[in-house]
Amino acid sequence: MVTPIVIIAAALAMAFLLPVLEKAGKGLIKTLSLLVLAGFFAASLSWVAQILQTGAIISQTAGFKAPVSINLSVSMMEATGLAVIYLVALLSGAFQIFVKKAVWQGKELSLYFALILGLSGLVMTRDLFNLFVFMEITSISLYGLLVSGRDERRFEGGFKYMIAGGLSSAFYLIGVAFLYRETGQLNLDIIVAQSGQANLYLPLLLLTIGILIELKPFPANGWALDVYESADPGTGAVISAMNTTALILVFMKLMPLLQAFGSGIVYAALIIAGLTFFLANLAGIRQTSGRRMLGYSSLAQTGLILFVLLSPSAGLSEERGLSIIASMLRLDTIEVIALALLINHALAKSALFWLTEFLKKDALHKSSEEGDYRGNRGWLIPAGMAVLALTALPPFPGFWAKWAVITSFGAAGNIGGIAVILIGSLLEVYYLFRWFIRTQAHGEDGGDVIAPQVPEDFAPEAAPAPAGLTIKPAWQIFAPALSIIILTSLGLAWAFLSLSGGQELLLLPLAALALYALFDLIALPFAVKNILAMAGLGGYAYLIYGELNNMTLIFGAVFIAGSLVQLFLLFNKRDKRSGLLPFLVMMILSLGNLLVFKSSLGFFFSWEMMTVSSFFLVIRGRQASRASLRYIMFSLAGAFMIMYALADGFRGPLTGLVFAIGLLIKMGAIGFHIWLPGAYAEAEDEVSTFLSSVLSKAGLFILFITAGIYGQTFFPGAGNAFLASIDINAILGWIGVITALAGAMMALFQEDIKYTLAYSSMGQIGYMILAFSIQSHLGWVTALYLAVTHLLFKGLLFMAIAGVIMRTGTRLMYQMGGLIKKMPISFISVLLAIIALSGVPPLTGFGGKWLLYSSLMEKGWYLHAGLAMFSSGVAFLYLFRLIHTIFLGQPKTGMFENIKEAPIWGLIPQAIFMMVIMGFSMFPSLLIKPLQAAVEMVYPAAAEGVAWQGSTVLSSLGYWNGSAVMYVTMGVFLIPLAWLMIVNGRIQKVKQFNIVFAAERPYKPETTHYAYNFFSHYQKALGFLVEVRAERFWTMIRKSTDALGGLVRRIYSGNAQTYAFHIIIFVILFHLLAGGTF
């Protein structure tokens, strides 16, 4: 069995012998080092196994017992930590040996082994002075590795690193000296055992400062950034992954010493760690160099891990997976969380560093440049997953660890801690995703596309440029790929553990992602893949059917059945479109999971899965880089708010409100809506049908499920009666109706069809929020009714429009016209959709309106009713504009001569939806009765006098008989039609321009097709309502955070002496924080 001391000896022997062995042959030393590194990793795993049986492994040196000689001990935490270090060491060793440009020769490899020796010594030794020696070995071998870099600024970075390293070891040495003087011992365990010591505060202060400076705390970490920026990516990965992990393990080793004799120090370190995490993320936003940004990110992650470690209430979470792992590894929960964060950071960060090696240049891509890796799966998959892991998104260990931390903070009521972590990680999400999105942006993507692109000269849109030339990553990509695979499998293992108690279903989306990605890999024809997707969805629906109650059945129908029908649309795809189906199926399944989760963790896991998969769908759009960044930012901000509310267990006064705001952001309510048009419109046509008709209901569904919490007042405990009386529902109601109006108004003045439909979706969601907030039987029935019918007609509209865009190649309405002759079926489906949407009687729309106004009047919200009617009038306007500019009016000569009807696969789902709409219009009870059954549980119908008389539905205010209306309309329509047919026996068809044009003959369709700026008079009258306000507000917020970030990063002025000065300031600050006086 390999004892720790043998590892140290082996590393040492390798370090000494490699320069000589290099003479024997380059290949030899490469294979030898890889073998030895693998051996180290295997040894650490064997320790983990052995410790499980026998407890910590202690090995003495020099044949004497501990205090007299130096001893090394490896407890479970150290063993697992070392396993992480050796794993990253193996991967980075392999990377450095085979990377093209800066291959490590004999000398660098021996320095590398000296580094590994130093790190393992750091973690194992129990003797404080010996710790100093190993710290020096690590730093000096790192300086040596820095020398072998390529960036000529590395010496400036190295010099600053040495000054900081020198000062920190000076402080450490003074600390050890005086500690020896007070306690007479150098061995850590003996000192801790000595009780009743004189005040060890000062020596421990110096000791901790020595360690902390190496861990790059806030004021004194300028040098670290310069090192990250100038070092090779390989060395950067080594520093950020292995060095930080070892030093954090050292800090954990010293914790008992600090807790015994210097409690003030722990508090000060906590504050410093929190500061480092937050401010490093803040400054990270302003970065232009990729590696420096990763430097800031690793500073932040170190700060986060320390912050979690040191905060007293971090280990209380009794999350299922966590407790199983803790019992398996015999660690306590705080250690498991720290371990998870360490692994997550080490593997993901080193993967990202290695991936920067393959980028053309270190500087971040400007928004207008073509990303190096658009559509290049080899590079994008590891990079994307690494970014996900770092921002703690499922299924990576970081997600579970962060969930455990936040819930335990919530349990202990540590709101400040939650706020710091969530806001900080939101900042990190911003700059990491910005980097990722830029590397894969499309050539033509101006990077700032969130509004429709209307060319000045009315010329039809240029044909899209072919995908740019992308760099093929060398096969050395295996190193980052391998580390990501290991990280994902760890994350999945944890996921399986924590969801095994009856929630295995929640893992299905991941399985589906893997399965369909496999199909993509083996390049099945798209049609086959689509059928498999449908089969998968069908199977899933069958699986969860048993667990659905009334309410979830309805949303199940919306989520699963709705998407099943819309999958037909994908059949008209000719090219491979790899990557579309896996994420699409994953999104739909995670939506389905929202119906069947059992614990708040299950809910949040599926919620984040949905966010992640929908992000990867939006990002496929040709000009979707800016829109997808906004989408991920807002979705995650909303998700973090929800996480806060879940962690707080809805006890806090405002958590109900924060939870509601989180959902409103996801639904795109007014004020939070600026991500919605970009995401829905810029995504691919097939994807935007799913996004707007299915995904937008997710927030609404959660509103329904957690309805219980909205009973609270808005300002609980507010002084005067009026404030206390405002409850959340009133606020939600006003938000809903204003969103409805704003959505409709904004849709009115758009030139691009998809933007019109996106804003119209926003308007419809406003209606749903309004209906929900009425909190009565009729109100909820209306909300559900609107949800279902919105799926139908919005799906119909988007599919028809997708067909039109595919045929005409443009999205601008004024460039089309007169398509009714070429695409009659699309015309009918759009006609039916706009009748249903605007609420014109015979079809389902009117049912929604009738239910809405009855419930509003019952509730007494008369003003809302008035505003809702006005916005439904405005809705009628943009719908007519849509159908007129596309299908009616004068067809453009020359452009659309030879276009055919939309492909058959697009028309089948439209036909299905049309039939369903007609069905529900004829027999509204078919739809309303199940909705009432769903709502019955919460608000009984009888209480509000809602009853059925035959096919007429009665409410306390009025009545409505859907079938009668349909028959009367049919009758009233057919009789005049018959009359006209009889009278107009000999009708003559005429060609295009045969119109009464005041005796002239119009020859140019552009002038006679009235389409551009259709409602200019309306713009003059009510244009002021639609000025850009929310956009400016959010841009102001981004700018101020940028400015703040700029302010923070100015501290790192680049001057080596100022960095030394920062260290002295840090010492003073630390002393003050630790409660010291002068």
């Binding site: 600024r153 400036e156 000296a177 310069d226 002025s1053 000065f1061 002295i1064």
Partner: protein, 118 residues
């Protein structure tokens, strides 16, 4: 005597630290570093010193018996030995980095070496 040694150690360390922080010339900064190191070594020796202590080497003059009474504490001297060698290693490496830095940007003033910032 010990009091004197401690004060001397802190004075030398203070001078060394002042040298690092205030003097802009690269070589002077490194000299400041080596002075700081020397200060620390004096401190370590002072920790081990005992009133009227002699070297802990047992020979005719100092038999095993009396060693316990008036020999100096051997542990700090062992530590100093290592510290001095490490101090040399760091100083030498820092000098070579300084040489390469100057080669890249031929000025001795630490303020001008600010290519890496923000």
């Amino acid at each position: 005597m010990t009091q004197l040694l401690y004060i001397l150690a802190f004075v030398v360390m203070a001078i060394g630290l002042w040298g690092i922080l205030s003097r802009r010339h690269l070589i002077r900064m490194i000299i400041g570093f080596s002075i700081l190191d020397t200060g620390i070594h004096i401190l370590l020796v002072a920790i081990g010193y005992r009133k009227g202590g002699t070297a802990p080497i047992l020979d005719e003059a100092l038999s095993k018996g009396e060693a316990l009474m008036n020999a100096v504490d051997p542990v700090p001297s062992a530590l100093v030995l290592t510290a001095i060698v490490i101090g040399l290693a760091v100083t030498a490496l820092m000098l070579s980095f300084a040489v390469r830095m100057v080669q890249n940007n031929p000025t001795m003033n630490a303020d001008e070496h600010k290519e890496l910032k923000w």
